[in-house]
Amino acid sequence: MAGVVGLREVRYGYDGDNHLKAEKDLSNPYFSFDGSKCIVCSRCVRACEEVQGTFALTVDGRGFASMIMPGPTGNFLQSECVSCGACVQACPTATLMEKSITDAGQPDHAVITTCAYCGVGCSFRAEMKGTEVVRMVPNKDGHANHGHSCIKGRFAWGYATHADRITKPMIRAKITDAWREVSWEEALAHTAAEFKRIQANYGRGAVGGITSSRCTNEETYLIQKLVRAGFGNNNVDTCARVCHSPTGYGLKQTLGESAGTQDFDSVLEADVVMVIGANPTDGHPVFASHLKRRLRQGAKLIVVDPRGIDLVRLPHVQADYHLQLRPGTNVAVINALAHTIVSEGLAAEAFIKARCDLAAFEKWKAFILLPENSPEALAEATGVPAQALRGAARLYATGGNAAIYYGLGVTEHSQGSTMVMGIANLAMLTGNIGRRGVGVNPLRGQNNVQGSCDMGSFPHELPGYRHISDVATRTLFESAWNAKLESEPGLRIPNMLDAALDGSFLGLYVQGEDIAQSDPDTQHVTAALSAMECLVVQDLFLNETAKFAHVFLPGSSFLEKDGTFTNAERRISRVRKVMPPLCGMEDWQVTVGLSNALGYPMHYAHPSEIMDEIARLTPTFTGVSYAKLDKLGSIQWPCNDTAPEGTPIMHVEQFVRGKGRFMVTKYQPTEERSTRQYPLLLTTGRILSQYNVGAQTRRTANSMWHDEDKLEIHPHDAEQRGINDGDWVGIRSRAGETVLRAVLSERIQPGVVYTTFHHPFSGANVITTDNSDWATNCPEYKVTAVQVSRVTQPSEWQRQFSQFDHQQQDLLAHRERASSKA
């Protein structure tokens, strides 16, 4: 266009010195840097520093030679740039430009929607050309992200139209048969008939469903309704089982509500931030940018983590304390912190007296003051020097507003629920709850973990965290749903798998989950899946679980449906359809279809009607409607008559349960401890560019940053085993063995090894065991005793996996096409 209207015709010609021949930097897969268009305004440099907090960009040279440079490496891909896109947004010329715009052209309209990656739940403008997405731009009015984004939400959406998408329903009798494409009617009728057959043969409790934390509230609500009212049992669970179920249990016991206490903006008023078992710069990058901004302003930082995560030391950020504990000793550390605060007289006595149950407090106080809970007594077990621990405790108790942010490093332990209660104890003990800048903040893994839990996905709870045995609640739902409900709790995911091997659970409907990759002890999971008579998987792709399925129902991505997600701060945001579903049905319509085929009719014309039903039946959602969401942009529940516009901060006047309840949290070492046979402790985590099982991000250019999972090992442990950087190493636990490439790293302490789990071939979960949280069965992903040694070939499991994968891809490729029959 510039050429067409004559903008390139300059008065003095092109003879003098200029930058027109500046080489373009095309190294980043998502955006280009064209130095010839740069006016060196520095907005990109400021965006990188002030908005993202990475400090990857600088202005090199002076005067006419001034150039924007991505650090000393010279190109964007090799630099410290994290591809958040903030510089691209800030660029007033076309110097920094999304490649998708260069390829597809300018958008013609935009729709506000919500990212489907992590629990931050960023609001985005999906910029469209007809029904094609050409760019995702973070929404400046977004209440969770305020116009910021990360590489995943901003750029990694190409999976939605990836060639691997399966768009037609398929069925097969055995998993060794080729798939057969069928109509929606046939697929749903077949599934209903199979589930009825299994129930007739093995009992009503022989089937169940798994809802997805990646799907919308409306979709998860419908699945649990289908299971409870249609199947007539309570065998419904969600992947929150394997991540944040201890949060739900622990916070309910102590504070009275299974949710975080703050909004994200609250961190900007925190004076002390304690991050426990979370890696926000990788797992929750947009929240991490808010946090880093506050830390640059001078807030103090305590990191409790076995690894030296990025947050420990960053440009202009240095943790005041890094309590580098041994994996599995969280509860010891939290008890030692509380012991210090009580014994040194730093407790908020007035707050406790006014707000907490005093009998429970006195009992807890007697427990916590036991000498066994002192930092000195626990130093050997935790590996944390008593002096540092006491210093951290004093800072948390006396440093002003103190906020705790935690992740799966807290929950995924045999004492996960105990640790969550320990965190709540600590916040109550210091009065750090009920106002801005403080609180207990679980960082949720997936976009809709909070929502899937809110919607009654757990087998023992109806929507709004009300126990299934409660007669009043059950009667309410029975009359609304016109069905008799079972009063006993159903099976949780690990129990479903055990029951499958036991022969009493043989039909499972899995929506948008991949338990064959994401759940622990893979060989146990796949044995259970193989034992099922009817496994139904609804997903975008033929994921690992679908390779064991008898029915495949194609799913729709977040771009193809209407609904809502609820993020880690209880914020309900709209997901809006920007393109028609590739398979012809939105996920909620598929569940409705299945329910109708089963003979339990559901009648919804639009997801807004499902939300209206949720609001009618759930006291914390009474005031929520699509109309109000459109008006306000987003709403933090509880939203009802007492809080018509939602609740940013919880427990302000009093705790949801009335009086806050201190719980006795005795430290019990996990049974998964290092031995002579398995002397190292394996812990797991994620990285910035990949997302969980990787089904989405592996199908984007994000794999340029992380194309395989590697094993981080301390140089000392490596040397003892003759392992060099880049060697293949076998990692063996009592559950299984896999082989990864080694990376020598001093981020971890001697005795500990670390890996990610984004690629199925890595088999990280072949090694993890069936050990789980005592209260919720949340698996102990974060501690597995292993031995590591040099090897020359993949493990036996990996060889079998490759063979099976090849067979299943072949059965997919040779599927009987519906069109060829016509």
Binding site: F367, E488, N777
Partner: protein
Amino acid sequence: MDASKLVHMANQIGGFFAADPDASIAADGVADHIRRFWDPRMRRDLFKWLDERNGEGLQPLVLQALEKHREKLQPAG
């Protein structure tokens, strides 16, 4: 279901509630937790283990809880 797993899980629950200085409250806590979170077939199989194998491997607190609350822990229906 795999009885050894059920025994292990029950003992883990016992481990948490054992921290309560009042043994009676601890036993109630164990029973209440199992009642609220365990599917009926898991409870049935645990009692089967208790009756047929004399609760082999179960911690004293868990045994006490199961005996004390046998009726309450029976699945409805």
